[in-house]
Subunit: 142 residues, 2 copies
Amino acid sequence: MMKRGKQLNGSAAEVEAAFYDALNRADVEALMLLWADDDEIFCVHPGGPRLHGHAAIQASWEAILERGGLQMRPSQLYETHNLMSAVHTVVEGITAGASEPAHLLATNVYMKTPQGWRMVMHHVSVAPGPMPSGQHPPSSLH
Amino acid sequence: MMKRGKQLNGSAAEVEAAFYDALNRADVEALMLLWADDDEIFCVHPGGPRLHGHAAIQASWEAILERGGLQMRPSQLYETHNLMSAVHTVVEGITAGASEPAHLLATNVYMKTPQGWRMVMHHVSVAPGPMPSGQHPPSSLH
């Protein structure tokens, strides 16, 4: 279980679960606490520019979550990790109605910082076609 | 200098330079040698699906490079790294004429493997607007 407060002692997977939980709850404050306390953090929303640093990233989430949570669940996670970093690639469903079938692909990178595991990169793009069928369980195969 | 052969003793930055060099030369063989010798490698081309593993990734590059090299240079690199992994975020120019101004954003992840530094993830998306002006030198600030 993740402890409360700024010290996150959970794994990268727990930080990711908290990340999508915060998106679902439209809780920008909780969301931003999951990012590394470092200027060199980056976020690319679907079709968007590269956002750099806490202020730009927080402002983007405030705009996205203004109308409420995203009701988004990551699935088909693959994880590549070592002692200090973890790279997750996940499929994100699209809840809003799109004109053509599409799904989102996210790369989430976590680093172990003095404050615990934190997100340093969230890069999402739109892929054509419906959600790929899950050939694998929605958990890490590593 | 990077040594020849499968043993790459260069840094992640040198692997990245070799990656874009191989793209420019349309050298798929050289390109694929830069990826980790692991099934868990992933590639997302602009607007494309998530490709998983050497066979799918190699086939995609063969199709993309069929007509020649991309004449692409990464710029505005930021690098977050530790002893075992490096996450690069770069702006890739678009050489082909697009209907509206756009640029590409790439997240490139490298891991230190028994064979040396290798790419494990290449995720690219299209961003609106022209290439952002380079407020920073085209090299790592770390």
